[in-house]
């Protein structure tokens, strides 16, 4: 039997996984943007961006970034002195924020504009 999964460790796993994904994305993003004038060319990139699969990927990216950001704010607040009794409520708040951001973001990216 694995160790019981508490809110705090759940938040930590999200933070870890999203962090690694974002670092990976950041590296690729910077690499491709730098080589934009290279073999791929701006046009092909711009064309790629219209691909629904890429749009979907961007939505996921937004969700991951939102999760990392909001939970990051939670950790910063807690380490700055927010009392322990707030750690779970803060996580629920962050989770709510992630959901809201994801929905609005997805709507904006996949559909029209806000």
């Amino acid at each position: 039997m694995r160790h019981k999964l508490y809110t705090g460790s759940f938040a930590w796993i999200i933070q870890r996984v999203s962090g690694v994904l974002l670092a990976l994305f950041l590296t690729l993003h910077l690499y491709f943007m730098k080589n934009i004038n290279g073999p791929l060319g701006y046009q092909s990139i711009a064309g790629m961006m219209k691909n629904p699969l890429i749009k979907f990927g961007e939505t996921i990216l937004l969700m991951v970034a939102a999760a990392h950001t909001l939970n990051g704010i939670r950790i910063v607040l807690l380490e700055a002195g927010a009392p322990t009794r707030f750690q779970k409520p803060l996580f629920y708040l962050a989770a709510l924020g992630i959901v809201v951001l994801s929905i609005t973001g997805a709507y904006s990216l996949l559909g029209g504009r806000i």
């Binding site: 962090g19 690694v20 670092a23 730098k34 990051g72 910063v76």
Partner: protein
Amino acid sequence: MKGILTWLFQRIAGVILISGLAAHFTVMHFSGSGRLGGFSAELVSTPCFNAVFLASAIYHGFYGLWGIAVEYIQSKNLLKTVQALLFSISALLLTAWLAA
């Protein structure tokens, strides 16, 4: 005493990224006019903003990976190698972008 400032910068970089990302996203993706609230496309594309934003992002990301490496890699040699690799990639990315 080791790691105090690097740890602190991770938090500071995080906070910079939050505001930077907010500007980046709002201006680039959500606002058709290239202007939203206090952010403008001009601000977002100034070299200074870019440099700080980029440096923060690279620092935050790679320091995070560095920390994970410290925790999960038991072998001292492997850890050193991985850390050197992380450092090189981040330095390369940063210089390549700042040079432009």
